[in-house]
């Protein structure tokens, strides 16, 4: 019993429970008890959650990825360019975008793994570079179905079906497709982190890189893998974002990295590396998602909302300790 509470998962649950309790109390005239409220929240947190999946692996391996928001923006623009402007079919546009995301991740990972650049610097550089690239290939414009013709007039092309499919809700509008994609991302990470050697290697490297190297683990390949996967998840998130917004916005994802890191860390994964897990990230995403949702359905004013967010985050974390 006692030891159960010491488990990080149980502690992350405690934080989530506290937030849910607040939701029960401040239920905004019952809005909190409607399934729609929850399903909206799941949809809203999904893009962040997908970023947080890759981030979890990067943090476990002892790194950090500041580039996720920008790579998301780049992917959203690229996907829209390919699918709307170039008219590529989904089975070409999606893999191409995923590839581009992975390449960005691998580029940052390469600097970290081969040239021992601090992860903070390498991914910061990727953050500004990918944002610039997104603005460059989009010409600073949102890539939507509204297209300016040579004579300056605007014309409206139809939205490609893949946008509608990915942006839709299934089960009679009760579950967003992006939420399903988020859950699949969680599953993929769970398999990598707990069922495959790769995951074991990542924990080992984050726990003690020198010891991991001495144990014959290909440290640099694993770092490449983690950052490459993070880039890949960014591309997934970017595609989801574009599908939901029906456009590719070169400003999409600005400051998402902070939210993604916050989700991972509030779940209980340590920024020092070597500890934590994807289950915690799921709980962290729910905690942050519900926290925002509860403040939002209660229409709390901007200043109060920020102050409450700060207080509740601290409260939730202290609540975790208390159970110990």
């Amino acid at each position: 019993m006692k030891s159960w509470f010491r488990h990080p998962f149980a502690r992350a649950m405690a934080a989530l429970a506290l937030v849910l309790l607040l939701g029960f109390i401040f239920n905004a005239d019952g809005a909190f008890f409607k399934w729609g409220t929850h399903s909206d929240m799941y949809r809203a947190i999904s893009v962040y959650g997908i970023l947080a999946c890759g981030m979890t692996m990067v943090i476990i391996i002892g790194g950090i990825d500041l580039g996720v928001g920008s790579i998301l923006g780049l992917s959203a623009v690229l996907f829209s360019l390919l699918a709307i402007r170039q008219g590529w079919p989904p089975w070409m546009a999606i893999p191409a975008t995923l590839m581009a995301g992975a390449v960005c991740g691998l580029a940052a990972g390469g600097l970290i793994a081969r040239f021992r650049v601090q992860p903070f610097i390498a991914t910061l550089a990727m953050m500004v570079f990918a944002r610039g690239l997104a603005k460059w290939i989009s010409g600073g414009q949102k890539i939507s179905t509204v297209i300016q013709k040579a004579n300056g007039d605007f014309m409206n092309v139809p939205v490609p079906a893949v946008f509608d499919q990915l942006g839709a809700k299934i089960l009679h509008g009760n579950l967003a497709v992006v939420t399903v994609i988020f859950l699949i991302s969680i599953m993929v990470c769970w398999i990598i982190l707990t069922k495959l050697r790769w995951g074991r290697f990542m924990y080992a490297i984050g726990g003690n890189e020198e010891a991991a190297r001495l144990s014959g683990i290909p440290v640099w390949a694993m770092k490449l893998l983690a950052y490459g996967l993070s880039g890949l998840f960014c591309a997934v998130a970017g595609i989801c974002q574009a599908a939901q917004e029906l456009q590719g916005d070169p400003e999409a994802g600005v400051s998402y990295e902070l939210t993604a890191i916050a989700i991972v860390v509030i779940g209980g994964t340590s920024l020092a590396g070597g500890r934590g897990g994807i289950g915690l990230t799921l709980l962290g995403a729910l905690t942050i998602g519900y926290l925002e949702k509860i403040l939002s359905i209660n229409a709390v004013g901007e200043a109060a909302r920020l102050m409450l967010t700060g207080v509740i985050i601290v409260g939730a974390v202290l609540f975790q300790r208390m159970r110990k």
Binding site: G140, V146, S296, R305
Partner: protein, 294 residues
């Protein structure tokens, strides 16, 4: 119409949902303040404000929440046209009238659009500057975020306005609406160019930042500064202080939204497109409430 049936009851309270895309800019804070002020004059109105913090999807969720809470009217100042169209359409389908403020949505599934035209304001500013400088001079343009439509329109309108004159834009950079950025960029312009006639900034804080840079270099007297937005406590005050030569109003439409909202709730017929007129404030006109642009 269920709305008109109920409006017979004078004790009826109306709930209005106001979805703001971002409260990080004074102009939008002002819009909310205008809505609030106008609504306070009508005790039967209750306005719920939501701030999407510059996040399209969050704003979409907010509209969905308003629909779920079954408000009587939605006012939305959307961050993006395309992605916010579906929730607005959904609200209309649910029988909730929607007033779209400032930025548009795609198509015509809304009750009323209220907004000013950035392109026209940019054009007016351009023409005004041509006149002011006598058709000749060097310009520094401090642009707002160029991935945003207001930035793009204030830029393209301005370029159209100065077309045909001998005005030359010698330095144009993106200062992303931020005053500290504007100051930094202006410092660079000052160290590169010894002759600058005028600074055209896409918002008043940008023009103010540029003025601060020029003042530090001791060159503020030789340069004219023009900004956009003309909020009373910012642009208009700067004009009064002699910092800006002119500031072009970009009206928030907050008051108009409430006025028209009331009409809608009371079952009156209103125009679908309301383009707000704009004013220019200069040293001569600022105390008289500016001068309306044609």
């Amino acid at each position: 119409q269920p709305v008109s049936a109920e409006s017979a009851n004078p004790a009826k309270k109306w709930t209005i949902g106001m979805s703001q895309c971002n409260l990080g800019e004074p102009w939008r804070v002002q819009m909310n303040a205008d809505v609030k002020k106008a609504a306070e004059a009508h005790p039967e109105l209750h306005v719920i404000f939501k701030d999407a913090q510059n996040d399209t999807l969050k704003q979409r969720a907010h509209v969905e929440e308003f629909v779920a809470a079954n408000v009587d009217l939605i006012i939305i100042s959307p961050k993006e046209a395309q992605p916010l169209t579906p929730p607005v359409v959904a609200a209309m389908h649910a029988g909730i009238p929607v007033i779209v403020l400032d930025r548009r949505v795609v198509g015509d599934k809304y009750t009323c659009f209220i907004g000013a035209d950035n392109k026209k304001i940019g054009q007016a500013a351009g023409r005004w500057i041509v006149q002011k400088l006598g058709g000749k001079g060097t310009i520094v343009e401090l642009k707002g975020l160029m991935t945003s439509t207001p930035g793009q329109d204030r830029n393209s309108g301005f370029r159209e306005g100065i077309k045909g004159s001998d005005l030359k834009v010698i330095f144009d950079v993106d200062m992303k609406w931020l005053e500290p950025n504007a100051r930094k960029e202006m410092e660079s312009a000052l160290s590169r160019f010894s002759d600058i006639s005028l600074v055209y900034a896409h918002n008043d804080p940008g023009a103010h930042g540029a003025w601060l840079a020029a003042k530090a270099a001791g060159r503020e007297k030789n340069i004219l500064f023009v900004g956009i937005d003309a909020l009373p406590q910012e642009g208009q005050a700067y004009v009064k202080q002699g910092i800006l030569t002119a500031s072009f109003e970009y009206p928030t439409g907050g008051r108009e939204a409430i006025e028209n909202g009331l009409k809608i709730l009371n079952g009156e017929k209103i125009e679908k497109e309301i383009v707000l007129p704009s004013r220019v404030f200069t040293a001569e006109t600022v105390d008289k409430g500016g001068e309306w642009l044609k």
